[in-house]
Amino acid sequence: MALVVKGIRKFYGKLEVINKISFKVRSGEFICIIGESGCGKTTLLKIIAGLEKPDEGSIEFSGEVRIGFVFQDDRLLPWRTAIENVLFAAKSFGMEDIKEAREILKLVGLEGFENFYPRQLSAGMRQRVGIARALVINPSILLLDEPFANLDAQTREKMQEEISKILENRTVIFVTHSIEEAVYLADRIVVLSPRPSKVFRVIPVNIGRPRDRTSVDFLRVKSKVRDALYKAKKI
């Protein structure tokens, strides 16, 4: 087990955002968290990352913890080039290695763009830099907060295909509100109910990779998730 989320509850003032969320993440597992907007998905990720404290419950990690985070808005520093942004993350971990940073940028498909400033890159490319920045520290757990939400549909699919390869065998928690994205990427999908959120259902996706979005299995899981989301709203 890489991490256990235990009975997390969170208030913002009087507003209860998270009622009770518990689930386990195995080592090397790709978890997608899905739920409608405003249900506290981002808050949950921030709690796991240690950026916010839960009012109840705890996060338990096993072994060394090193968290890589990919933000919905890329949060690249505009005054740093792609490679400098990657190195920024590596710095505090004492891993400032230009060769390694180059290697990671190549892995996410940005070879030749190392010295471009964020404004010179497309939204998709900026998000690739964001992924490289999270990967360069060799994270034990990777948290992604709707990283593709701001991309156009085609770029989005392409990024999903690539990330599914790049993040193979990594421990990942990926927040999304796209059902198809969750089914394409996840080993297991955690469906949250609306605010104050609970874990409504955990749906395993037992489909081999690379996944075919039009296969019967794929569509069946997709409708299962849709069904769960629909029912989650009603309770």
């Binding site: 985070f69 005054w79 920024f88 993350a89 710095k91 505090s92 404004r119 920045r133």
Partner: protein, 246 residues
Amino acid sequence: MLGLVLFLLCWYFISFLTHFPYPHLVLLRFLELLIIPESVLGKTLLQHTAASLCRVLVASAFAFSFAIPLGILSGWSRKFRSLFLPIIDSLRPIPPLAWIPLAYIIFARIPNTILISQLFIVFIGAFFPCFISVFDSARNTPKEFIEMARVFNADNKTILLDIILPHSLQGISTGIRVGLAVGWMCIIAAEMIATTGEGLGYFILVMYEVGGRVTEIVSGIAMIGIVGYALNNLLLSFEKVIIRWR
């Protein structure tokens, strides 16, 4: 270009109606004053300009070396802000020129009273706009960047130097430009009140006192404008080099 032509036409028109010197006469006298020492003070216009400019540059540099770190710290730390900002806010509304008489008294007992007072006034004039500009941009550093840095284990020093400081560069640049412009105005005024025997403000005042030599006065004023314009543009092109990621 059209604006300049229109301006000159108006000037000619006014000169035609009044005793105000014609533009071409001012230009000739201006060029003459640049290199040939003027008879009353025995110095060229360039020497006067250099004297004023040196004072402004020294005093402003001094002001900026306080205003920039203080602005960044105030923008970054709430504690520092609550300690420091009330002092700044109560002194800031006082026009720098109001300090002139006081400054001459404060520094009366030390050598070079006049020079020190002038530097002090420019310091006051340059400090506040620079501080405010830097403070503003440091404080407006997106908290998302700071959160990102925290996620990646950055310590306070890294956040200050790698996030707040670069984000504040625009504010620093604007602060330096505005600070220098205000300092430049202050030195002219300060030189008109007491003098070390040179300086643009002093030159203009003396030209007035020896009998309203309008052509010389206008030459002096033109020089003030030219230097102000040049400083501003120099700094703007410098800014483009420094902030090259935009």
